[in-house]
Amino acid sequence: MSSEALTSTGYIRHHLQNLTCGLQDGHFHCAHSADEAKAMGFWALNVDTLGVSLLLGLVFLYFFSRVAKSAAQGVPGGLQNFVEWVIEFIDSSVRGSFTGRSALVAPLALTIFVWIFLMNLMDLIPIDYIPFVTEQMGLSHFKVVPSTDPNATIGMAIGVFFLVIFYSIKIKGLGGFVGELTLQPFGKFGLPVNLFLEGVNLIAKPVSLALRLFGNMYAGEMIFILIALLPFYLQWTLSLPWAIFHILIVTLQAFIFMTLTIVYLDMAHQEHH
């Protein structure tokens, strides 16, 4: 381990640092400390976040598309049963919250739910396993849970935000969308106040999506790190209950992100005056 891992503070800081790689002083390399990562500025990549989330996304799409390819109306087998169960759950959620008709919303909800669920699920892997393995491979840092990296959650929230704006303009027209932002709730004479209120309302959507997921997962991860500071024979007394409780949070956060996305898109599809 690197020298900063010898103290408790160092251990915590080490676990909270992504594997950030980028250009520095003209050549591409990976940061060995938080300061170095910060110095790389915006044009750097958290390779661990990208890699793990890509892998999990591919796992999700692999299994679901395998079922989709062989989907038959006959008696379903084990994997098909599971996939159909998930799909029906998403489908009923979308039907419950989304009143319009859209070919996008349901697959979007499915992707969000399963992908975030898998990313959150990485939190249940014992905290030192994968960093230990990657350290043997020569990587100084490795954060396994992509949803504890604000880049991942903000990235998804931006995607949802674009869709909200896109559908608002598509359904209501540009004028309708701008009108919605400026002409209510106080009519055209209160335009600046309207714009401020509705603007906050609009911006709050992606921010709340991203920060809620990030905050929950980050806090959960932090507690696992703190538990890992206990002597090894005592860790299970806390990590086991927390992990069991965390199963709930993992699912709940994925569900909340999905449901809010559906609701936001539903609002984008509705004309209200």
Binding site: F42, L45, T49, L50, S53, F64, A68, I87, I154, I158
Partner: protein, 156 residues
């Protein structure tokens, strides 16, 4: 924990996953689910129809059975009537036949009686002739009186 280009990478990755899911995952599975829903609904409807058909068939079979019973009873009564008719006919025929037989027997008996009487008459005349011959053998020549005797026989 700093914001960097990972953000963009995640957004792009997210968009691609959603696109793939929308294109290749969601529609076929939903189609299969809908198809199965329809299959099950059809199956249930067919079952219901089958049950209804069965009820109808049971009702019809009961009706057919009742009709058959009625017909059988009718046939039996007809048969009984016919049988008694045949018996009556046979009785009448037998009576006629019996009458015939009796008549034939009566005529035979009459013939027999007549024949026996003829025989008896011949024999009686012979005996009488013999008796008379014996009495008159001394006085009368048989030849002379034969004509008279034969007249007598014919008279008897």
């Amino acid at each position: 924990m700093n914001i960097n280009a990972t953000l963009l990478g995640q957004t792009i990755m997210f968009a691609m996953f959603v696109w793939f899911c929308m294109k290749f995952v969601w529609p076929p599975i939903i189609a299969a689910l809908d198809a199965r829903k329809k299959l099950i609904a059809d199956g249930l409807a067919a079952g219901e129809r089958g049950k209804h058909d069965l009820e109808l068939a049971a009702k019809r079979s009961a009706e057919v059975l009742r009709e058959a019973k009625e017909k059988a009873a009718e046939i039996i009564s007809q048969g009984d009537k016919r049988a008694s008719e045949i018996v009556e006919e046979a009785k009448a025929k037998a009576e006629v036949e019996a009458g015939n037989i009796r008549a034939r027997a009566n005529s035979e008996i009459e013939q027999e009686v007549f024949r026996a009487r003829e025989q008896l008459r011949t024999q009686v005349s012979a005996i009488a002739l013999a008796g008379a011959g014996k009495i008159l053998s001394r006085e009368i020549d048989a030849k002379a009186h034969n004509e008279l005797l034969e007249k007598l026989v014919a008279e008897i």
